[in-house]
């Protein structure tokens, strides 16, 4: 594998990871909303660190 | 016999003994929980720079309340 292909591969992985992370965060907030009765509260983690 | 007035009408520095607590709802309950019961002495310290709310001394501590809440409290 050439150096350039390796680079592209690494870059692709990182970008995919970032996309996945953002998507997972969004999904978890939606999920938290559906799960609890009154659609509120996030337990320990609402995906924003506060 | 000393006259009855509302807490709202007291001036800064005046004191009164609580006679009746009128009004309804959460504000009244909150005031009672804080110690505003019949027979308690309450002292008006000052009003806010813009006129409202007012600061009073009750059972040794300072409390703020608005005119609209103080209007329901009768003192003498």
């Amino acid at each position: 594998m050439s150096g350039e292909m390796l680079q592209t591969l690494l870059v692709g992985l990182v970008v995919l990871a970032a996309l996945f992370y953002v998507g997972r965060r969004a999904w978890r907030t939606v999920l938290a909303g559906r799960a609890s009765r009154d659609g509120g509260g996030c337990g320990d983690d609402c995906g924003c660190g506060h | 016999m000393t006259e009855r007035r509302t807490l709202a009408s007291l001036a800064a520095g005046e004191r009164g003994k609580v006679m009746e607590i009128g009004g309804d709802g959460d504000a009244v309950r909150r005031l009672m929980d804080l110690g505003l019961t019949r027979g308690t002495t309450i002292e008006v310290i000052r009003r806010a720079p813009l006129g409202d709310p007012m600061e009073v001394r009750l059972r040794g501590f300072m409390l703020t309340l608005r005119r609209s809440e103080a209007e329901h409290i009768t003192v003498e």
Binding site: L31, G39, C48, G49 | -
Partner: protein, 725 residues
């Protein structure tokens, strides 16, 4: 200073030997009035081993920590929200009561309750204590701030008080760490002790009238002690809390009890307060002595100024200006250093990696992305430090007192003022600090308008555009047109925020004005350790998560701007090649796609790209502009970027793209537009999380975008009509 030994229990309660916990986790809950130093005590007990989260279903902070007692057994401490009573009229009080009754979801019922009482305000604090003592849980009283009490001439006999209350009383000074070991020992011993129960008796008629209600509650599962407490409490409340929803026939029983009490000639709703305080008066008389010093306390003397008709507001303005100023000017050198650090890091890494996509990703994407987040840190730290100081010293209550009248004229509460002010630095901590606002509708309204307060992220944009397009001419002798434009932008945001708050409160979020019944605590010197811990805690949370979210977004944006790649002909100069690359990439195509939408505002597709890219974080706009105009890593002071902007011409018409009018319109757009992923995330969480939170955040985004577009349109078209260009 005497710290009384805990342990003298009245002979009527035969104590059983303390059971061995067997290494299991002991659950302790801390309750107490606000301003009793409860948090300081909590911090002193648990140190850095704390966890902050949420109770499910409500936006009440859940603070837990741990310590090891003298025997090495682990103890978990839950710091319940400060409450004046268990009357459950606010979410905070409701949670405290639910947890103590063992009815809170996901929270273990505490094994021991520690009531933190302020020795300076014994009467009022004993109200809560008397309620807690009736819950049937082993209870310890931590009599805190005895040093301040002594200074005020108040001496409390802890041993006498123990006998009166039927629960061990330990004198503590949390800020100095005194009495803590005794407290821990008292907690460990308390596990085996029988609960104190009610220490006074109701009048026979009242007791008779309330008995059926107590029976109803016992049938619903409460133990007899707690039933007694709840029965008294229910006589005065306006609604039955959710934690009692499962008790059958409760509403009817409460009505019946009220009627019976009234029939006996007693006012139902004041029964609890009068009964408890009647008992408390006797207790205080027997256990505490007050030597009136006659001279005014320090608090009174400070308040004579702080709450003065004239000096009060003046002092307030000076303090606010100081906070404001410090957030900008003191943070600035720190921010510059952080930025310089990241630039250096970028340069270093850039020289190591071979040219190509990976390097671009790491240097422009990762390092640039993380840097843009860390730049916020000094401001966050300074802001939280000031808020912490203002709160812990007790000044915050005075500020709310002064501002209440004014806030009410726009339908808000005095307490909204400080969070709104924090918005000038950054909306994120501002939104978080709205937790001090009790009324949910007031809190929501404050959150909804907070981002309109021009946060510091807008400064790079203002600086760039003002520097490039507003001439530095003097106005009326001393004022500078540039400075005034900046001020105008701030005023615009602030006034709109207040106006929108008024609108919301009259329409969507209409609600009755919540009472402004608030304690003005005595001034005190905040504990530096406690302050440092809470500031450090917030800072680390912010860093950890905001860094991950913004980092990921920057990576995604980078990808959007880099792919698909264009392949420029070999001879093209780098600036033109970059431009072509941008036009060809996804981000560029998005810019072209929205160009028709922004053209009425006077923008071209490149500005469109800038706007699109900055949806996640405003400052990205400046960096993007730098990239687009091929100036490498630009910041707002780079003269090259300013000149490039001035020189830019429309392809077809040859007219300048950027004119003062366009610049002002663009700034107005940024005054209003909600373009901050971090803020949106916090708003989602603080407005209830999940679907509800997202709905509110979505609404906020939409209305602010509408404002932005409308205002920018008005400015541009209006300006054209008036003859500007």
């Amino acid at each position: 200073m005497d710290v009384a030994e805990a342990g003298a229990i009245p002979a009527t309660h035969a104590p059983s030997p303390a059971p061995v916990r067997g290494g299991g986790l002991l659950h302790v809950a801390l309750v107490g009035n606000p301003n009793t130093g409860k948090s300081t005590l909590f911090n002193a007990l648990t140190g850095m081993r704390q966890r902050v989260g949420n109770y499910s279903g409500v936006t009440v902070e859940r603070v837990e920590g741990r310590y090891r007692d003298a025997d090495g057994h682990p103890v978990s401490v839950l710091d319940l929200p400060g409450t004046y009573s268990l009357s459950a009229s606010s979410p905070d009080e409701e949670i405290a009561l639910s947890v103590l009754l063992g009815r809170a979801q996901g929270v273990a019922r505490p094994d021991v309750v520690v009531v933190v009482a302020d020795a300076q305000n014994l009467e009022r604090n004993l109200f809560l204590a008397s309620q807690v003592l009736e819950l049937g849980l082993p209870t310890v009283i931590a009599l805190n701030q005895v040093d301040a009490a002594l200074a005020a001439g108040i001496r409390v006999d802890a041993i006498e008080l123990t006998l009166e209350l039927g629960a061990p009383v330990v004198a503590t000074v949390a800020t100095k760490g005194e009495g803590l070991e005794l407290l821990k020992r008292a907690v460990a011993k308390a596990v085996g002790l029988p609960p104190a129960g009610r220490r006074f008796e109701l009048e026979p008629e009242a007791a008779r009238a309330v008995a059926p209600l107590e029976a109803c509650l016992v049938r619903g599962g409460l133990n007899p002690d707690a039933a007694g407490m709840e029965a008294l409490r229910l006589l005065a409340v306006t609604q039955i809390g959710p934690h009692l929803a499962h008790v059958e026939g409760l509403a009817a029983a409460v009505e019946a009890a009220r009627a019976a009490v009234e029939a006996a000639g007693i006012t139902a709703r004041s029964l609890e307060a009068e009964a408890r305080y009647g008992w408390i008066a006797g207790v205080v008389e027997r256990t505490a002595t007050q030597t009136h010093t006659g001279k005014k306390t320090l608090t009174d003397r400070i308040d004579a100024v702080a709450l003065h008709r004239v000096w009060g507001p003046l002092l307030f303005i000076v303090l606010m200006a100081l906070v404001f100023q410090s957030i900008f000017s003191w943070a600035a050198p720190l921010m510059d250093r952080v930025e310089a650090l990241f630039n250096a890091l970028g340069g270093a890494v850039g020289s190591i990696l071979p040219p190509g996509d990976l390097r671009s990703l790491v240097v422009d994407g990762v390092i640039g992305g993380v840097g843009s987040v860390l730049v916020f840190l000094p401001q966050i730290v300074i802001l939280f430090l000031f808020i912490g100081i203002l709160e812990d010293t007790g000044y915050m209550a005075r500020a709310a007192f002064i501002m209440d009248r004014f806030m009410r004229s726009v339908g808000l509460h005095g307490r909204s003022f400080i969070p709104l002010l924090s918005g000038y630095a950054c909306a994120v901590p501002g939104v978080m600090s709205t937790r001090t606002i009790e009324a949910p509708k007031d809190r929501l309204a404050t959150i909804m308008v907070l981002p309109l307060m021009s946060c510091s992220a807008r400064i790079p944009i203002y600086t760039l555009l003002i520097g490039a397009f507003i001439p530095p001419v003097a106005v009326a002798g001393i004022f500078n047109l540039q400075g005034m434009t900046l001020l105008a932008m701030y005023l615009l945001g602030t006034l709109t925020a207040l106006a929108m708050a008024a609108v919301f409160k009259k329409t969507l979020l209409k609600g009755r004005a919540r009472p402004m019944i608030m304690e003005l605590p005595p001034y005190r010197i905040p504990s530096p350790r406690s302050l440092a811990m809470s500031v450090g805690h917030r800072a680390s949370l912010f860093l950890r998560r905001a860094g991950t979210v913004i980092l990921s977004l920057t990576i995604v944006l980078w990808a959007l701007a880099t792919y698909p790649k264009s392949h420029a002909a070999p001879g093209t100069p780098p600036a033109a090649a970059q431009e072509e690359q941008l036009a060809h990439s996804l981000l560029g195509r998005m810019g072209h796609a929205i160009e028709p939408a922004v053209r009425p505002l006077g923008y071209d597709w490149k500005i469109g790209v800038g706007i699109v890219s900055s949806f996640a974080a405003r400052e990205v706009f400046v960096a993007t502009m730098g990239t687009i105009y091929g100036v490498g890593s630009a910041d707002e002071t780079t003269p090259a970027l300013r000149d490039r902007l001035k020189a830019e011409r429309h392809e077809r018409t040859g007219l300048p793209v950027y004119t003062p009018l366009v610049a002002v319109g663009l700034m107005v757009f940024y005054v209003y537009a909600m373009m901050c992923m971090s803020t949106m995330a916090v708003v989602v969480r603080e407005t209830g999380g999940g679907r509800k939170g997202m709905a509110w955040a979505g609404f906020q985004f939409a209305y602010m975008l509408a404002l932005a577009y409308g205002a920018a349109f008005l400015v541009y078209r209006g300006g054209l009509a008036l003859g500007f260009h």
